[in-house]
Amino acid sequence: MAFLHERLDNGLEVIAETTASAVSTSVGFFVSTGARDERDDLWGVSHFLEHMVFKGTVDLSADDINRRFDAMGASANAFTGEEDTVYYAAVLPRQQHEAVELLARMMRPALREEDFTTEKLVIQEEIRMYDDQPPFGADDRCRAAFFGRHPLARSVLGTTESIQALPVEAMRDYHRRRYGPGTVVLAASGAVDFPALVESARRLCGEWEPVPAHDRRVADAPRTPADGGLERIVRPSATLAYAVRMAAGPTETDPDRYAAKLLSVVLGDSSGSRLYWALVDGGDAEQASLGHQDFLDAGLFVTQLSCDAADADDLLARILDIYAQARDGGIDTREFTQARNKLAGRVVLGGERPRRRLFDVGLEWSHSRTYRSVADTLGIVESLSLDDVQRVLSTWAPDGPAATVLAGPDAAADAAS
């Protein structure tokens, strides 16, 4: 396994993790733009633009793009998050050039008005689809409540209203500002011909005009709600209630980020964790979990609970007790070792698939210009100590101030009827 890196004259970076024995090649464009880079009047534009990139260029139609990916046998798709928009394709090694070429051309989309109008309908369907599903908006509401005026408060999809109000010219302008060579990384993993990759990048992206950099860090820390109040969303047709709770945790540049992930496994993994044994194993809750998410300048411990609406308040209180007990009583060696072995297993298994590695390597480079091999990550996980986990627990207190949102049927009304 080798890591290779090249920077084009216009600033675009090309990286690859090559594995000689791999039977596939994954390539992707990692654009450093997402929901946090949107102004209020652009809410949802990053994700909408990701859809529009598949609608064609001046000389390629949407049908051309779809047919070409399928003709390559590619698994091609894209996703948009708070900080990144990623376009990728996994192909057999002999298709590397064709896949890079198509993706590179797509990065300069036509953004035609008629496609924009049709695709608006698709985006609105996507918003409704998620809104009809658990956790029925509790995640977005919780993020908004936790982050307040911080840019991470914005949901990725936007709202049906914000999408309806968006003019095509605003998207074109956003694309010009945010898809410059300095904010794009071309990454590849698996069986990669790196000289050919750099050559493709030069030929296809070498003429992209640099655009001024844009500083994404904000001085304001996220506003952590002091009162830990609970906000409710009533969905009469829901069967269960769904709670999302966000408390502060280590950011992605914090050396404690891995210890935070290990702590989440101990306390709230989907099986074998403290929350699992206390709430899920006995069938009190359908799900009760804790996860750690990290961003450039913020980190989150996210608790998710789904259960009978009548039990939600009690179970949320029990979860906080479990966190408080861990903080006061600590973690024992046996559960620490079990969690570390689970994390290590995930690193090894995930590391076997070039497609998975593309995201790990591409996002890490895109955010911090660092590269970590599977062995490096495994080394970090295996060197974690019980002290590291205890330190995270005492520094961040997952039972501390948080935003909590509960969506579900109206428990009070149900009880009354």
Binding site: V23, G73, E125, M129, D132, T239, G272, D281, T337, L349
Partner: protein
């Protein structure tokens, strides 16, 4: 394409299959017992699921918690699944852990405690899952389609029905495990960085002296009505269509799945192009294939705003009708390319390969090599796909809608 495959049949009827993937660090193992949901008695839908859950809650010398800790302490990503035909326990892990965890699986299969004091917890967990499914419109739609399309009991939901789970007792579970969790007909599949001789030795020591034959499945019953509307108060309406096609073990299934791939398999498919790209009617629309050993179903699915659901259904039906006589060589070449890369990329996942070899053994009684599968795709041609379509029109179409209002099907449906 080089492939190292192994198989053995033990005297007690267990088939052991292996594939060595020496570039991987991991190994995946799966135990498939022929104890699926088709064996649920008529008023105990979900019994197989509840039985599988209880098997994990204490086995051999380990109590419920120790079973999970034995697996997770070794870093195993484990799972338990009950399908229509099988109860499966599986795990993926770093290869060196395999000898340590095989005895845990052997206990789960042979020595489950089925303890009274775990029964209520297991039942509550199954009921919680059923409540969560009520909030998953896509799952409910597909479940309703299987229920009306397949002959009973093949269409029953393996996850159970709340009222049936409520009346199930620990005695029901013990009876089920005794009748069905047996070595006869079990398939064990392992893939990844394996030493076959060593693995087979472990399996023989742990399971070789286990004896028993599972009870046969219930006879096929009738199908449901051709159309069903499920009332659901939400913004979107979900639509699912199904019709009978040949099962995987029939060679014509390659022609049919090629046609379904053209209809709704990828972004260049007819449904994606006409329903989403041209009309913007939905976010998700697709066609696919679900197979049992003796019968299979072509499935189309979409979810869209209630007001646009009728148009979506009409366009889906029009595309199904337009398919025969219109297959192009370019479209078929794209099917081939997608199959080719899909098959090759399976080799990057021990779990994917362990699943694939077990499925093939169940369906055709042999493991088809990747080379043979690739060759079959290379031999696809327009004439064969067209004749398969001509021979198999969607005569027995079943339609499900889930949403505020029922939809109209602009054609006669079978009675």
């Amino acid at each position: 394409m080089k492939q190292t495959l192994f198989s053995a049949t033990l005297d007690n009827g267990i088939t052991v299959l292996g594939e060595e993937l020496s570039e991987l660090e991991s190994v995946a193992v799966a135990f498939h017992a022929p104890a699926g949901g088709i064996h649920d008695p008529q008023d105990r839908c979900g019994l197989a699921t509840l039985a599988g859950e209880l098997c994990l809650r204490g086995a051999g010398d380990r109590d419920s918690r120790q079973v999970v800790e034995a697996l997770e302490g070794a870093g195993v990503q484990w799972s338990h699944a009950v399908s229509t035909t099988h109860t499966s326990f599986s795990g993926a892990m770093v290869a060196r852990q395999l000898p340590e965890v095989l005895p845990v699986y052997a206990d789960i299969l042979r020595r489950p405690r089925l303890a009274e004091d775990q029964f209520e917890s297991a039942r509550q967990m199954v009921l919680q899952n059923l409540a969560a499914i009520e909030d998953d419109p896509g799952h409910r739609t597909m479940s309703a389609l299987r229920r009306i399309h397949y002959p009973s009991p093949w269409g029953m939901p393996t996850e159970g029905i709340s009222a049936d789970v409520e009346r199930t007792s620990v005695a029901d579970v013990r009876g089920f495990v005794g009748r069905h969790l047996q070595p006869g007909g079990m398939i064990i599949a392992v893939a990844g960085r394996i030493d076959w001789g060593d693995f087979l030795g472990h399996v023989e020591r742990l399971l070789g002296d286990w004896q028993g034959t599972p009870a046969p499945a219930a006879a096929l019953g009738p199908r449901g009505p051709a159309m069903r509307h499920v009332p659901h108060e939400a913004q979107q309406t979900h639509i699912a269509l199904g019709w009978s096609v040949p099962p995987y073990r029939d060679d014509a299934s390659y022609d049919v799945t090629a046609a379904l791939s053209i209809l709704g398999g990828g972004p260049s498919s007819r449904l994606f192009t006409e329903v989403r790209e041209r009309r913007g009617l939905c976010y998700s629309v697709s066609a696919g294939y679900q197979t049992h050993r003796d019968f299979a179903m072509a499935v189309c699915y979409s979810g869209t705003t209630a007001e646009r659901a009728q148009e979506t259904l009409d366009v889906m039906l029009a595309e199904i009708d337009r398919l025969p006589g219109s297959i192009s060589a370019d479209e078929l070449e794209r099917v081939r390319a997608r199959a080719r890369s899909g098959l090759v990329m399976q080799q990057e996942s021990s779990a994917a390969r362990a699943g694939a070899i077990a499925r093939q053994w169940y369906h055709v009684g042999a493991v088809r090599t990747l080379a043979a599968e690739l060759d079959r795709y290379e031999r696809l041609d327009v004439a064969a796909v067209e004749s398969a379509l001509a021979a198999l029109p969607p005569r027995d179409l079943s339609v499900v809608s889930l949403g505020r209002e029922p939809l109209e099907v602009s054609r006669g449906l079978p009675a």
